[in-house]
């Protein structure tokens, strides 16, 4: 098929625009999951919030660069003053709160998760996608979200790193449940839309 320069340019521009829309919509997805009231999970019915699930989904679905861009857009607009953090809070003031470190880690988390997810989708067999994507989400959370969250809490709450670590442990079981659910949903999505994170 011959493709004129004009048509090729139009196709590239359409790809770029869809990428922009993906970044914007996934930033909105993080916001919507942050608003969602805590839901009871498992037979014990422990309530957990879904805020970090959106960040993991951005990395798992869009890959490292677009995922980090979506998380960065969410963070930047929230810090600027849109009421998009959990509890409809917003503005630079959240940097005084205990969640400051967690919020600032989101772009890095999406980047790490996205890098691993991208490698998994390129190399691994589809039947291994769910466990490997779970590892991707868990790695992002262990390497970025929790260390930065602990640092943030020890800074804003005037407690030592050990005490902050103890407070952080509360979030671990919910985090693993969220990573697993996110990996399952993302694997389903990549089977439905194979071109989403194009395997070049």
């Amino acid at each position: 098929m011959t493709s004129s320069p004009l048509r090729r340019g139009a196709a590239q521009s359409a790809h770029r625009t869809v990428d922009i829309a993906m970044i914007g919509v996934f930033a909105a997805l993080i916001a919507v999951l942050a608003f969602a009231p805590p839901i009871p999970v498992g037979s014990a019915g422990v309530p957990i919030t879904l805020q970090t699930l959106g960040v993991a989904l951005a990395g798992l679905t869009l890959g490292p660069w677009r995922g980090a861009a979506a998380a960065g857009l969410y963070l930047a607009l929230g810090l600027l003053g849109l009421p998009i953090f959990s509890g409809f809070a917003g503005g630079l003031g959240v940097l005084a709160g205990p969640s400051a470190g967690y919020l600032l880690s989101f772009p890095l988390t999406a980047l790490i998760t996205g890098l691993i997810a991208w490698a998994v989708l390129r190399r691994a067999q589809p039947r291994w996608w769910v466990p490997l994507l779970f590892c991707a989400a868990a790695a992002g959370s262990i390497l970025a979200t929790h260390p930065l969250g602990i640092l943030g809490m020890s800074f804003t709450l005037d407690v030592s790193l050990q005490e902050a670590f103890l407070m952080d442990i509360v979030f671990w079981p919910g985090d693993l449940a969220k990573s697993l659910a996110g990996a399952g949903a993302a694997a389903l999505l990549h089977r439905t839309y194979p071109m989403l994170l194009a395997r070049r």
Binding site: A10, A14, T17, V18, I20, A21, M22, I23, G24, V25, F26, A27, A28, L29, A31, V32, L33, F35, A36, I39, P40, V41, G42, L50, L73, Y74, A76, L80, G81, L82, P83, I84, S86, G87, F88, A89, G90, G91, L92, G93, V94, L95, A96, G97, P98, S99, T156, L157, D158, V159, S160, E163, A177, A181, G184, A185, A186, L189, T192, Y193
Partner: protein, 216 residues
Amino acid sequence: MSRRRRPRPLRARDQVFGRTAPGNGILHRTPAWAKVAVLAAVTVTVLILRSPTVSLGVVVAVLLLGAAAGVPPVKVLRLLRRIWLLLAAVLAAQLLFNDLAGAGEVLSRIIACLLGAQLLILTTRPHDLLGVFRTLVLPLRWVGLSPGRIALAGLVMLRAIPYLADLAHLAHRQTQARGLEHSIRARTVPLLTGSVDYARDTGRALAARGIDQVRR
């Protein structure tokens, strides 16, 4: 014959951006960039000084300024009711690891910063904030990113939030109907596929109109 069931009232939609306090006071007329700049300065001051007196002073100033601009204090303080769980957790952690004075200092600092931001949120329209955002990301031109495209992504985000909030609510109702309230995955999948569909449709619609950035 069973009687026709009384229709259950629909739950009100989650309000995200309709939270601006109506009015045309002095704060509403101040340009958005000035409010962002003042808020940033106040936040940094409170964070650096870490003194309960200053923090409580900021809280009082915020309430007085809001009242002067026609924003009732109740509207500003409503935020505290939404995040009371977080504040209670902070208080518990402080009493456990620090003393009462430390708890007062940390809590007053958090509340001062959040209430200041709340006043900005209540008196500024989201689209004005996006204009400030586009100006703030102008330096990113030097690393090869287009400020116009970043602002377009921000606009798409503003438009997508109400749609996705409805979708999330619908997904919640669906999981209830299937008895899967406890499954995160059952709740996530429809939201995720809906997001991707919405993004593709939006992207193609924008491309078809030749829009790929927000121009000034």
